[in-house]
Structure formats: structure tokens, C-alpha cells
């Protein structure tokens, strides 16, 4: 009998509907701005293209070291929508493969930076006025006091230039901002009664930090991450533009722009097509970012 009752546990059912309601409400405030929906669709399309690049791209062999001088330097036409570059590679295909690198960069950098920054911020904020706070926050201060792009450039210059090291460099330059934001939120949440009651009831530190405080930090984390996605792509493109990112035969948007630069202004499409692609991707991410901001901005009309 008891078991039967458990199956139709009313609080459980209510929880489910509440969650569904919550998602509905979030979608409502997200989609109120049509631009965010456009951004979401755009990013979905680009992600789809990047994942299935081998099937979507008109000539997948253009992504690597492929030479076809018979087709070199063709302006945009119906067969090559973005034209071909100085080695006769189809630029549209290279852009699609370049998206793969850019998206990989964002995903990996965010998945390194967010956990590290958030954990350190939680620790420093919760153990305020102890040596833990001093150590973490003084190190953070050092990292925050230098523009991320500059630090990333310096670190990239010291390592062998490739995509993995660019990711590593951007991550090293980026975590401190999350640490600082979460530190500020945590110090203000520390005095809340629910934290206090968890302390009194003998909860472990990890329970207090990750189960009590972290859920309340979710909105600043998500807003910051969604606004950062575009900035990370921009930083990655700048690094590979100066030649410290992925190396030439690989299709990478920033590198493609810089190699096309040498052929300006006659073969303008070689650098313009990847430039446009960068702008488009970053813009879609910014559209989504604004939508996510509007979810968490309460009371804004």
C-alpha cells in the first residue's frame, strides 16, 4: 500500500509541473525579444553545419592542405558562393570548418573557466576574512588587472602555436572574472538565513557551498557566460589573426582573415568572407546573451 502511495506522490508531481511552468515562463521572457529567437536559430544552424561539416560543405577536402591552382583566386560565383582562395580552395567550405574550431573553442574554454572560477569564488566568498580568501582573491586581483586578450597573447607566444594552446591561454586569462563575480555574490549571500540554518543543522561545507549558495549564483553565472561566448570567439579570432593560434593549413576563421589580408584589395573576398562569418557567429551569440539577460532581469518591462 505504501509503495502505491509513493508512486502518486503529490509533492513530486507538483515539482514536475512547477519545473515545466518555470521553463515555460523562462521561454516566454526569452522569446519576447524576437532577436534572441533569431540568434538561437542562427546558433543552432551554425552548430549543425559545424558538426556535419563533412556532409554540408560543398568541398570538404578544402579544409586541409588541398591545392587546385586551376581554380585559384576565383571571385564569388554560383559554384563557389564565397569564391576561392589563393590555392583554389572553396572558401565557403573552409568557413564551415572554421566554425567547428570556433565553437570548440567556446565550449572548451567555458567548461574549463566556469567550474574553476565559480569554485574559487565560492570558497573565497564563504571563507571571508580567512587566509583562504586572502590567497584566492590576491591571485585573482593579479589576473584581473591585465586585459584578457593581452595575457592570452603573451601565453600563446610562449607556447607552440596551435588551437589547444590558444584554448589554454584564453582559459588562464579568463577564469578570474568568474571568481570575482561569484565572490561578490557569495559574500552577500553568506548572511542569509538559509545559509545560517544549514550551518546550524550541521551541514558539510560542500553541501552549503554547492547546494545552498551555488543555486542562487546561477543567474549571474549564466548571464556572464552567455555574454562571454561572443567575446571568447572574438579573442580566439584575434589570437589566430596574429598567427598565434591554429596554423595555416587548418581552416580557422581568424587565420583565414589574416592570410587573405596579404591579397587586399584585389582579392577582397578571401578575407571578407571569414570576417563576415566571425561577425555573424558573434552576433548570434550576443542575441542569445541578451535574451538570457532578460530572463533574469526581473521587473523590467
Amino acid at each position: 500500500m505504501l509503495r502505491k502511495n509513493k508512486k502518486i506522490d503529490i509533492p513530486e508531481a507538483r515539482k514536475k509541473t512547477r519545473r515545466r511552468e518555470n521553463i515555460k515562463r523562462m521561454w516566454h521572457s526569452f522569446s519576447r525579444n524576437k532577436i534572441s529567437v533569431i540568434g538561437l536559430v542562427g546558433v543552432f544552424l551554425i552548430v549543425f553545419m559545424a558538426i556535419f561539416a563533412n556532409y554540408v560543405a560543398p568541398s570538404p577536402e578544402s579544409a586541409g592542405l588541398y591545392i587546385n591552382f586551376g581554380e585559384a583566386n576565383r571571385p564569388p560565383s554560383l559554384t563557389h558562393i564565397f569564391g576561392t582562395d589563393e590555392m583554389g580552395r572553396d572558401i565557403l567550405s573552409r568557413v564551415i570548418f572554421g566554425y567547428r574550431a570556433s565553437l570548440l573553442l567556446v565550449v572548451i574554454v567555458l567548461s574549463i573557466v566556469v567550474p574553476i572560477g565559480v569554485t574559487l569564488g565560492l570558497l573565497a566568498g564563504y571563507f571571508r576574512d580567512t587566509y583562504i580568501e586572502t590567497i584566492i582573491m590576491r591571485i585573482t586581483d593579479v589576473f584581473v588587472s591585465i586585459p584578457p586578450l593581452l595575457l592570452a597573447l603573451v601565453i600563446c607566444s610562449l607556447l607552440t602555436p596551435n588551437l589547444q594552446n590558444a584554448m589554454l591561454a584564453i582559459s588562464v586569462a579568463w577564469w578570474s572574472w568568474y571568481c570575482r563575480i561569484i565572490y561578490n555574490v557569495t559574500t552577500s549571500l553568506k548572511g542569509e538565513t538559509y545559509v545560517w540554518s544549514a550551518e546550524v543543522s550541521g551541514a558539510s561545507y560542500s553541501h552549503i557551498l554547492f547546494k545552498e549558495i551555488l543555486p542562487n549564483c546561477l543567474s549571474p553565472i549564466l548571464t556572464k557566460a552567455s555574454l562571454d561566448a561572443g567575446l571568447i570567439i572574438l579573442t580566439g579570432a584575434s589570437i589566430s589573426f596574429v598567427g598565434l593560434g591554429a596554423q595555416p593549413p587548418t581552416a580557422e576563421l581568424g587565420g583565414m582573415v589574416s592570410s587573405g589580408c596579404k591579397l587586399l584589395p584585389e582579392q577582397w573576398w578571401i578575407s571578407m568572407a571569414p570576417s563576415l562569418a566571425i561577425v555573424l557567429l558573434i552576433m548570434c551569440f550576443n542575441f542569445i546573451g541578451d535574451g538570457i539577460v532578460s530572463i533574469y532581469e526581473k521587473g523590467r518591462g
Binding site: 586581483d141 591585465i146 586578450l149 607566444s157 607556447l159 572574438l234 584575434s238 561577425v279 542575441f287
Partner: protein, 341 residues
């Protein structure tokens, strides 16, 4: 007031600590890298004993903390070491290259402050009209494009297609450079009374300044717009309106001041973020500035110049954050100056 002075002094002590940490960080990063900077600088054909002597002279054979000690001792005497690329003391290089970059960044800052606040105020005041929509769309474009892409587009359109703007360097070849007084080309040529050189210099500034400023202008405009819309709903604005005070007075006297505070805080951040972007633009446009010097140091693994450039930018960053805090607390006395960095 007393508290303000105390806090500022505290901030300066912090500044020194952070700079010390920053120098240690960059120093360690620069020293643990693979590769042989001495061999790179002297060339592959330099005899072994020359390389050995250079290594010994620069204490490169000692452990890293000893190297840091020697480097730090040099700093106290105002000696930042020797650049392998330019073969001059780094301090001298910075004195030569820094003004060119500073001039670039200052003009960019003026543009950012003026147009960022102006466009933001227009968009906020006329929110949900066609002006607002247009400006918001342009702002999306602005925040989405890296500055080097703007520079390339401007170079193609105005440099190559219309041929009305120069795309390389700081002054054209035909002009005799004016006597160096302030190290700022525009001001120097004005002092010397050479107006043609002045206009030539201004022309050279247009492409780098515009391409650097578009992104920050868009960021500033967005945050100013948000601030104005937020404050428009406040009770004191309604009260001022019901008193019959004219729109212009409300706008300039009551609305603008509290609305631009977040924009000013952003400005401090943005104006120093310009430096790394200036790094890339200066390389592209062959601009003889600190950023190009730093970029060459980075590409050639020139340790001393990398450390120096990073420290200069870090110093500017912290000072600008102190200045911004002072300005915001002056704009809104309710805001206390932060005690941290």
C-alpha cells in the same frame, strides 16, 4: 574627504602589491617557456663562447628566483633590462614607442566617451522609436565585430577604393617630422605651426581610431541606454515632469548624471582593454607604437620587452580603475570608493 584620501592611499599600496604579483607571474611565464631566446637573438652562427657570455651576463644560467632578484634590483634603478630585438635598453624603447600608442588611445577614448554617451542617450530617451531601433541594430554590429575586421574594411574602402585615407604609419613620407616636444605628432606639429603636417597626421589617425572605437562606442551606448531607461521610470523624474520642467532640463540636469554612472565604470575597463586591440591594429597598419613593439616582442619571444609592456598596461589598468572610482563617487556620493583593486 579624510576617508577618501585614506582609501586612495590604501589603493596605491594595493597597486604596488598587484604589480609585484603581475611581474612575478609574467616573469615566471616568460622564463619557463621552451626555446632559447639568447640563441634566437644572436643568430644561429654566433660562436658558442659569445652565447655563453651573454647567458652569464644576463644571469640566465641561475635559478629563476635569482633571476627575478636581479631583474627586480634593476627595476628599482629604473632599468627594465635589455631588448634583444631592438638592441636597446627596454626603458628607452618604451619612452620612444609609448607616446604614439598613448596618443592613439587618447583620441579613441575621446571618441568613445562622446559618441558612446550621445548615442546611448538618444536611444534611451527615444526608446522604442525608429531612432532607438536603428542605433540598437548598429550597436549589435559594433559589439560583434573584432576591431581588426573594421580596420580591414576601412582600409579596403577608404584606403584602396576611394584612395582618400593613408593606411600605413603615422605620418606621410613627404613631411619633415616636427621638433619633438610632447612626442604627440598632432600637438608637436601644431606647436611648430605646420598645419599641413597636422592635417596629414590627423588623416593617419582616422582608420586606427575609428576601428578601435566602434566596439567600445557600441558597448557604452548600450549601457547608457539601459541606465537612462531605468532612471526614466523613477519617481523623481515623474515629479520633475509634473512640476513642468522642460524636457531639456530634465534630460541634462536630472537624468544624465545618475544614468551614466555604469557607463563611466565601463569606460575605465574599456579604455585599457583598447591596448591589446591596439596591439593588433598597430601591427596591421604599421603604426610605430608600444603595442607594435610589444607584439614584436611577443612574436620574437623577447622576454624583457614582454614583461615591460605587460607591466605598463597593468599599471594603467589599475590607475584607471582608481580614477573611475573617484569619478563615480563624485557623480553619486552614495557610492563609496571600493577598498580593493
Amino acid at each position: 574627504m579624510n576617508r577618501t584620501i585614506k582609501v586612495i592611499l590604501k589603493r596605491f599600496v594595493y597597486l604596488l602589491i598587484v604589480l609585484l604579483g603581475l611581474s612575478m607571474l609574467i616573469f615566471t611565464l616568460a622564463r619557463i617557456m621552451p626555446g632559447d631566446p639568447v640563441r634566437m637573438a644572436l643568430g644561429a652562427r654566433a660562436p658558442e663562447w659569445v652565447v655563453q657570455r651573454a647567458i652569464e651576463e644576463n644571469h640566465l644560467d641561475k635559478p629563476i628566483y635569482v633571476q627575478y632578484y636581479y631583474w627586480f634590483k634593476g627595476i628599482l634603478k629604473g632599468d627594465l633590462g635589455f631588448s634583444w630585438v631592438t638592441r636597446r635598453p627596454v626603458m628607452e624603447d618604451i619612452k620612444i614607442f609609448f607616446p604614439a600608442t598613448l596618443e592613439l588611445v587618447l583620441y579613441t577614448d575621446i571618441l568613445i566617451l562622446f559618441f558612446g554617451l550621445l548615442f546611448g542617450a538618444i536611444a534611451g530617451f527615444y526608446s522604442n522609436t525608429w531612432k532607438d531601433t536603428l542605433l540598437r541594430m548598429l550597436a549589435y554590429l559594433g559589439i560583434s565585430a573584432p576591431p581588426f575586421i573594421f580596420a580591414i574594411v576601412l582600409m579596403v574602402v577608404f584606403g584602396s577604393f576611394f584612395k582618400i585615407l593613408p593606411t600605413m604609419g603615422r605620418v606621410s613620407e613627404g613631411f619633415v617630422s616636427p621638433p619633438v616636444i610632447t612626442h604627440f605628432v598632432t600637438i608637436d606639429s601644431l606647436i611648430a605651426g605646420e598645419f599641413s603636417a597636422f592635417f596629414d597626421a590627423i588623416k593617419h589617425f582616422i582608420i586606427p581610431v575609428v576601428s578601435l572605437s566602434l566596439k567600445p562606442i557600441a558597448e557604452m551606448a548600450r549601457i547608457t541606454r539601459a541606465g537612462i531607461i531605468e532612471n526614466l521610470e523613477k519617481d523623481y523624474i515623474t515629479a520633475a515632469k509634473s512640476y513642468g520642467i522642460s524636457q531639456k532640463v530634465i534630460m541634462s540636469k536630472y537624468l544624465l548624471k545618475p544614468s551614466i554612472i555604469p557607463a563611466i565604470s565601463l569606460f575605465g575597463l574599456v579604455s585599457v582593454q583598447l591596448f591589446p586591440h591596439a596591439f593588433i591594429i598597430e601591427g596591421l597598419l604599421n603604426w610605430p607604437g608600444l603595442s607594435r613593439y610589444g607584439m614584436e616582442g611577443i612574436l620574437n619571444k623577447d622576454l624583457n620587452s614582454i614583461i615591460a609592456v605587460v607591466l605598463v598596461v597593468g599599471l594603467l589598468f589599475i590607475i584607471s580603475s582608481i580614477v573611475v572610482d573617484l569619478i563615480t563617487s563624485w557623480l553619486d556620493p552614495r557610492i563609496n570608493i571600493r577598498e580593493g583593486v
